[in-house]
């Protein structure tokens, strides 16, 4: 034994032991248990939600999202860092603790340009109607553009979906209706995601930021709610269905169930800071007066070492 162990254990009776044998036994049992769990329960593999699927099955919802990006009114447009420069929406506590602001824009996304205009320009190459509409839209005054968008948005609220065909009342939408139809067609063709993620690294791009952002929000929330995975449903601690997930994050998910926290626009920062503080308390627990006495006050140790105490009594 090392010199310090020898000093530390002086006077303690020793027993014969075979660490590797014991380790191998535990490893075999643990492996067996895991293999049985895997064989019996498998893993969930629920397919992704694609733009194609949404555009086909929920065209009104799809058009609503497309319009929000196109109009520049989406939440993403003013998200703040890491996507946009304006930082009034960056989460902060006490006004000045705002790591998002400190890190800044590391993954720039201009929702209007990246999630609407760029794909529309791609469609325009293939589709002359969209090309004409896009040209007309770009030539119009900003007021005119906003007017068309407003009219279309109002009409879309009352539009109906007849087996995938969108029925919209007559109105003054200018080229906007044609452009939104273009988005719908691109998505139905299954091409939207790739049209969004194209970057200077094509065809090697491994980054899906823009296509993942496109479907977030109302569209995915519906699916998540259905599968019991919303944050308010402890979503992050379970996989879909009856599968356990990251249950060890239970204390973290718990914070999101507290109305005072979850209703705050800074909820993510607050919960994150509480978890970081909890982690530091755990790290320093051995020297925190009071907390480091708990094992003495709840003497589980007597159970753990009961043989030893019985022995030293004798």
């Amino acid at each position: 034994m090392s010199k310090r162990s020898e000093a530390y254990l002086s006077g303690v009776p020793m027993e014969r032991y075979d660490m590797i044998r014991e380790g191998l036994i535990v490893l075999s049992v643990v492996t067996l248990v895991i293999v049985l769990l895997a064989a019996f329960f498998g893993t969930p593999d629920y397919p992704t939600v694609t733009a194609k699927e949404v555009a086909t099955k929920q065209p009104l919802l799809f058009l609503d999202r497309s319009l929000s990006y196109f109009s520049g009114q989406s939440g993403l447009q003013t998200y703040g860092p890491p996507y946009t420069k304006d930082d009034q929406n960056a989460q902060a506590v006490f006004g000045f603790i705002s790591p998002a602001r400190w890190v800044g824009v590391v993954s720039p996304v201009n929702a209007q340009q990246d999630l609407a205009m760029k794909p529309l320009e791609r469609i325009a190459v293939l589709n002359p109607e969209v090309a004409t509409a896009l040209a007309a839209y770009k030539q119009a005054s900003p007021d005119q553009q906003q007017n068309w968008i407003k009219n279309y948005a109002v009409a879309l609220k009352k539009a109906t979906d007849d087996n995938g065909k969108v029925i919209l009342a007559q109105g003054d939408y200018g080229p906007v209706a044609g452009l939104m139809n273009g988005m719908l067609k691109l998505a139905r063709a299954g091409l939207l995601e790739r049209a969004l993620d194209s970057s200077a690294l094509l065809p090697y791009d491994l980054n899906n930021t823009k296509s993942l952002l496109f479907l977030e929000g109302p569209i995915e929330n519906r699916v998540a709610q259905h599968l019991n995975e919303l944050g308010s449903q402890w979503g992050m601690t379970n996989e879909m269905g009856p599968y356990p997930g990251a249950w060890w994050l239970w204390p973290y998910a718990f914070l999101y169930q507290l109305p005072g926290i979850v209703n705050s626009p800074n909820a993510d920062l607050i919960t994150g800071l509480i978890m970081a503080a909890a982690f530091f308390i755990l790290i320093f627990l051995p020297v925190i007066p009071g907390l480091n006495r708990i094992p003495y006050l709840i003497p589980v140790y007597r159970l753990i070492w009961r043989d030893w105490y019985r022995r030293s009594k004798d």
């Binding site: 034994m1 090392s2 162990s5 530390y8 254990l9 303690v12 009776p13 020793m14 027993e15 014969r16 032991y17 660490m19 380790g23 535990v26 049992v29 643990v30 492996t31 769990l37 895997a38 498998g42 893993t43 969930p44 593999d45 992704t48 939600v49 890491p82 960056a90 989460q91 790591p99 998002a100 890190v103 491994l206 980054n207 930021t209 977030e216 699916v223 998540a224 995975e229 979503g235 992050m236 879909m240 356990p244 997930g245 990251a246 249950w247 060890w248 800074n266 993510d268 920062l269 919960t271 994150g272 755990l282 790290i283 051995p286 020297v287 480091n292 094992p295 589980v300 140790y301 753990i304």
Partner: protein
């Protein structure tokens, strides 16, 4: 100065063969409270083993191959068992006040390992290329962004993949090795003696 001599000297006083491959243990090491660390380590081995198999065939494999699905399930349940063991291990060490007699380092490195595994779990979830990955990516990005971790992009599988299969497992194995190395070097902490004096630290 002879470096080899120095190292030999260090090993002799800190980590002898008897520490690495012990043939005897103090008699107080005879309860379930010592089992969970080994259980955690065993589950970690299963997780790494199944992870290597999945890595060889690539992240898309398990969605199309029943064999791949099985290994993915082993990976998933391995993680569940790993955390089950880890939480019990942490509780056992807490109730033993196993940080006593200068064992604070073991406690701290254990927790740091724990923290790294959390990021392993997150990156792994985001790599599944299925609904759970898609949903957790857009959900998870907000806390990451708010906490100033935006440079780890939850929606960039290229970055997540390299973290998940290279850097994070390397750190976990390294920290776990240091953790267990220190435990073996210092030998298991002595039982709490009821004389109050030597209890703290």
């Amino acid at each position: 100065m002879n470096i080899d001599e120095k190292l030999q000297g260090w090993l002799k006083s800190h980590l002898t063969l008897e520490d690495v491959l012990p043939t005897q243990m103090p008699v107080y090491v005879n309860s379930m409270a010592y089992f969970f660390g080994t259980m955690t380590l065993s589950a970690l081995m299963v997780v790494i083993g199944s992870g290597i198999i999945i890595a060889i065939f690539g992240p898309g494999w398990w969605h199309v191959s029943p064999t791949g699905h099985f290994f993915n399930s082993v990976h998933f349940w391995g993680v569940e068992v790993f955390y089950f063991g880890l939480v019990l291990h942490l509780l056992a060490k807490f109730f033993k006040a196993a940080w006593r007699d200068g064992r604070w380092r073991t406690w701290v490195i254990g927790l740091v390992t724990f923290a790294v595994t959390i990021f392993s779990g997150i990156t792994g979830t985001l790599l599944q290329q299925n609904w759970d990955a898609q949903w957790n990516a857009v959900q998870g990005k907000d806390p990451m962004n708010a906490l100033g971790l935006a440079w780890i992009n939850a929606m960039d599988p290229g970055q997540l993949l390299t973290l998940h299969v290279a850097l994070l497992p390397f750190l976990i194995v390294l920290f776990a090795a240091i953790h267990i190395g220190i435990v073996r070097s210092e030998s298991p902490v002595r039982p709490i003696e009821r004389s109050r004096k030597e209890e703290v630290r």
